[in-house]
Symmetry: C2
Subunit: 351 residues, 2 copies
Amino acid sequence: MSSLFDRVRFPLVQAPMAGAQGSALAVAVCRAGGIGSLPGAMLTPDALAKELATIRESLPDDALFNVNFFCHQSPAADEAVDRAWFTKLAPAYGEFGIDPASIAAGPGRLPFSEAAAEAIAPFAPPVVSFHFGLPSEALVARCRAWGAQIWSSATTVAEARWLAERGVDAIIAQGLEAGGHRGHFLSDDLSMQLPMLPLTQQISRAVATPVIAAGGIVDSQSASAAMSAGAAAVQVGTAFLRTPESTISKLYRNALASKAATHTALTNLFTGRPARGIVNRFMREYGPLNADAPAFPLATRQSAPLRAAAEAAGSADFTPLWAGQNAPLCEALPAEEIVKRIGEAALAARR
Amino acid sequence: MSSLFDRVRFPLVQAPMAGAQGSALAVAVCRAGGIGSLPGAMLTPDALAKELATIRESLPDDALFNVNFFCHQSPAADEAVDRAWFTKLAPAYGEFGIDPASIAAGPGRLPFSEAAAEAIAPFAPPVVSFHFGLPSEALVARCRAWGAQIWSSATTVAEARWLAERGVDAIIAQGLEAGGHRGHFLSDDLSMQLPMLPLTQQISRAVATPVIAAGGIVDSQSASAAMSAGAAAVQVGTAFLRTPESTISKLYRNALASKAATHTALTNLFTGRPARGIVNRFMREYGPLNADAPAFPLATRQSAPLRAAAEAAGSADFTPLWAGQNAPLCEALPAEEIVKRIGEAALAARR
């Protein structure tokens, strides 16, 4: 299976970052010699097909790229929880003149589905990766039918063992440093989760499946540490946020370039599930973790209008500023340059 | 200053572990080519002098060793907090037939003091290291008067800068993986603290002071990662707990060798200050973090009798089982063997 990483110039995977990038970043990473990723969590089947068409048109037929999906169970909304959370956030709504009664329920993020599989099948993505475990066996089989490799994230050794038993082709060891949503699915006890280095060491000793190390990998030092710890490849997310190929706002870009990026925390305020982002006013005032927030992804209903209103006023106070703990070491560079710098180090440290 | 680490065979410091080791481990580490440490936090001036006499008698005059102290402010006991905490723990006291009224107040752990300085001065330890910042300028000057180097721990880049401004000779970058008490002193917001690899990278870029990386360093992989990230030396704690030279109980040793060691957490239940240990019944039932616990080190008053009673009954349910997140990778080996294995890798990766 490490044969897959032998088929690209660098053992480097660009982390899928829903809401922060589309096909442009994935294509740039593939062209530079890494494995680019398209995040599917916030795309409709039509949008997925459009993005994949762009990727297929832009790259040679044998290019390796990844499409990523969340695979949570969609919970039913709980009226009482919703009402209590609206009440708690009332001061913030008041500040922006938002009437909570006007806020419609929305899906937030969609899990992988038959419709999504249908939309991507014609493009036969070589890798389909999942966050929060795995979808149904039928959906996994559907992807395997066109020859796709299946990857998923583990935040603990127990999760890695669970995935290995189910035959995934690679396990993304998501260290605690990583930006964005935590991928845990066996326990929501965050204290069980390990930073990148011990997680990579422990998972690569526990399972035979190739390990893709993630979390805080932003430069040659961190990449070579990950590879030396037993990884078959590195996954890099935050380092790509400040590229011209990412689609993040000026506000988000500014936050990443500022001193604020030195303090990230896990917060469930934006979506209902812990995710790492730069600490901002919303997190300071209501969290960063708050047991009253609705379940993932329902809390998006309450946070999205605040984000929109604050951003319209030029502020990132209510924006999810997903970033990993090594964000302060990241520079604004083209994706190609990042792939080469980190990829060379990963390649040199490959054993 | 990295000249200090050039004066020993290996750039390896044995982490001081109060309650888990004395002069025997420090001597064994020094003899094997590392820098041994004597933890002073739980020793009276007389005991300190006795241990230092043993170290001096056992080693050549130019041997490098370290004496470590906590330097917290001793808080006054708060009657109301004490009473509320006794009440909360009543079920546990009841189970062991302990009468809370019979539990006397105790110092828990003593901060570095004039008396401690007086006791150690005749032995002129070459390094005096501190946890929780630095003691008064007068006490630091007292140690410098006999030629001692001064080291202290940082859990954030801000703390490293603070220490560098005060002229410490080395900064221990205490990654979140590390076992035992967190060394923070500028903020008690645990979300600000970084794992070993990003912390070492960020501190070594922010200050010119040599950095000693700590947290999860238990083998050649982790040691070489730390050195490649910019460390001048590595500090190793948990890996020495299962040596014949450590003084921990059979119960503690068994816990380290068991599956329980795969889950550690930060807990303030034992002393009032967050420290990383193997999750046990006390932590599961009352924590692991509990805002009602008295301030450090006063909570020791409430936890110590439970620990004693449970241990007498053959259980580690109420024992502080300090350990880092890479404990599962640690084997039972002589200290000399550990120094060599980890030290060789650290030396090879030194830049």
